[in-house]
């Protein structure tokens, strides 16, 4: 069947930021960011380059982690007041997703964000274009059609995608991720790996996405430990930015799966950071998906081979791959269970029903190669809480 592979124009390498900004055309640049990134001075740096080229610049730094609809609406309102023609998102996934969703409301205030699907045209780009500059190396949102927003009333994160949400331009500037602390470097790096692996087994997988995944898996295993070991290693930072971007291209065009359904729900109910949430889910979902599913096991075995695992039995290779991911996690100081991540037993038990309910409502679950019901999801969370490998 007909299919599409959409990616933005990507600029990387020495002087990527200045070179691209100097060539950008437009008049009114709306820089969307958050207070943390603002503190690093990145938006100011961008603003200076643009001012030198006769741009008017507004900076909006109110983005929140895991943005809510209300926050998106206030960003859209600010875009409107400024007659924005170019949106420049500088920040992590939360900032970039705020920008994407606010862009939609800026162009079409009547659109309900929850009702965005891949199906209908959004009719964007009448008023503005979107440039994304990531300051975390994980979500790859700068390269994706995806957006994740939270409902105000319930706190539920909903993920959706639409081809028009793919940014026009993604600028990869390693200097912007240099300040990322060890913990967030590890969490966001695991998000990238989860995107790559899930995209490879998703029911919508395709050759273009597969190619991106194969490179990502190699790069994350090589460069994530180096990024964490020396936070100032600019080469490692750049490689992780590229890996995250490739992983974004991969899953954006083939979707993520169960790990993200479990992860989004953890983010909604227990406010677990996204990379931590999906990273904890990843090895468990591999163990779940490879059981009695020889074709899926074979796909995991292909990825396992990239990191030196050679086993004749694909299911054993898949399980060894899950173990290898746990070793990678241990090497970068990533917790091995929800309990070790600091979630109290009471909070976990109190939240479990909601966790299951929201995971079932997450659309990525439909993309998983092996079916799972609410009972299975509950079990996954219980295993995740204690850090026990999945055996069902």
């Amino acid at each position: 069947m007909v299919w599409w592979f959409s990616v933005p124009k990507v600029i990387f390498g020495e002087d990527a930021l200045t070179t691209e900004l100097e060539q950008l055309s437009g008049k009114n640049a709306f820089i969307l960011t958050d207070k943390v990134v603002m503190g690093f001075g990145f938006p100011e740096r961008i603003s200076e380059i643009l001012h030198d080229h006769q741009w008017s610049v507004a900076i909006w730094d109110n983005a929140e982690p895991d943005p809510r609809v209300s926050s998106v609406k206030s960003a859209a309102e600010a875009m409107r007041r400024f007659s924005t023609d170019t949106i420049i998102a500088v920040g992590g996934g939360s900032v970039m997703d705020t920008a994407k969703a606010a862009w939609v409301l800026y162009e079409h205030p009547e659109i309900q964000l929850e009702a965005i699907t891949p199906l209908q045209p959004l009719d964007l780009r009448h008023k503005a274009r979107l440039v994304c500059i990531p300051t975390t190396a994980g979500t790859g949102s700068e390269a994706t059609k995806a957006v994740v927003i939270r409902e105000d009333q319930t706190g539920r994160k909903f993920a959706t995608n639409n081809a028009e949400l793919c940014p026009d331009i993604a600028i990869l500037e390693p200097g912007f991720v240099k300040g990322l602390p060890k913990e967030l470097t590890a969490y966001t790096g695991l998000d990238a790996l989860t995107h790559a692996v899930e995209a490879y087994v998703s029911v919508w997988k395709n050759d273009f996405s597969d190619a991106c995944t194969l490179k990502t898996v190699q790069m994350v295993f090589e460069w994530l430990p180096k990024s964490v070991a020396d936070l100032t290693d600019l080469q490692a930072r750049e490689k992780m930015l590229i890996a995250a971007d490739l992983a974004g291209m991969s899953f954006s065009n083939s979707q993520v799966a169960l790990g993200h359904s479990l992860g989004h729900s953890l983010g909604s109910v227990l406010r677990v950071q996204h990379g931590l949430a999906v990273g904890l889910s990843l090895p468990l979902t591999i163990e779940y998906n490879c059981k009695d599913k020889p074709e899926t096991a074979k796909l995991y075995a292909e990825l396992a081979a990239l990191v030196g695992i050679k086993k004749a039995d694909p299911e054993l290779a898949a399980r060894a791959f899950a173990k290898k991911i746990r070793q990678l996690q241990a090497s970068v100081g990533f917790p091995t269970s929800l309990k070790k991540a600091g979630v109290s037993e009471k909070d976990f038990n109190d939240g479990l029903d909601k966790l299951v309910q929201y995971a079932m409502m997450d659309s990525s679950i439909t993309m998983n190669p092996r079916d799972i019901d609410s009972g299975g999801i509950r079990k996954m969370y219980e295993y995740m809480y204690s850090g026990t490998p999945v055996d069902f």
Partner: protein, 140 residues
């Protein structure tokens, strides 16, 4: 021996659909809070399908409460429609129901925000139709 084929969108086919859906534990689990009826439509194609064929399916909290052939003007909360050739591919498992929408082989009308919260249930609705040995109007 293989099961006898039933005519697509006949009363008998719809009864069979209802019976299988009501036994589908995965559907019941995924749709336990679902409220809303559906119309499935085979679009008219000017040759085999002269008039659009429409089926009404009432779904409530994981149960399929009612199935019936539907009149042209009859409304439901959701309407999923496509030409016969695409229904055949869908029922043969050769079209993924959501990909089919993206590729414009089918159209879906209704509250999209709601569908996005129940994609698993929606997938089971289609998976159920795949299980029925179906005889299509262009088959002898």
């Amino acid at each position: 021996m293989s099961e006898k084929k039933v005519d697509f969108f006949s009363e008998q086919w719809l009864k069979k659909y209802q019976e299988i859906l009501n036994k589908n534990a995965a559907y019941k689990d995924a749709a336990k809070d679902w409220e809303g009826d559906f119309i499935f439509q085979i679009d008219a194609d000017g040759s085999t399908v002269k008039e659009p064929a429409r089926a009404y399916i009432d779904l409530w909290h994981g149960d399929c409460r009612k199935v019936a052939l539907a009149a042209p003007g009859q409304k439901a909360a959701f309407e999923y429609s496509g030409p016969l050739k695409n229904w055949k591919l869908l029922l043969a498992g050769q079209i993924d129901p959501i990909k089919g929408l993206m590729a414009r082989k089918f159209t879906l009308k209704g509250d999209m925000g709601k569908v996005m919260r129940y994609t698993k249930a929606a997938a089971e609705l289609v998976a159920t139709a795949v299980k029925i040995p179906t005889k299509f109007p262009d088959e002898k």
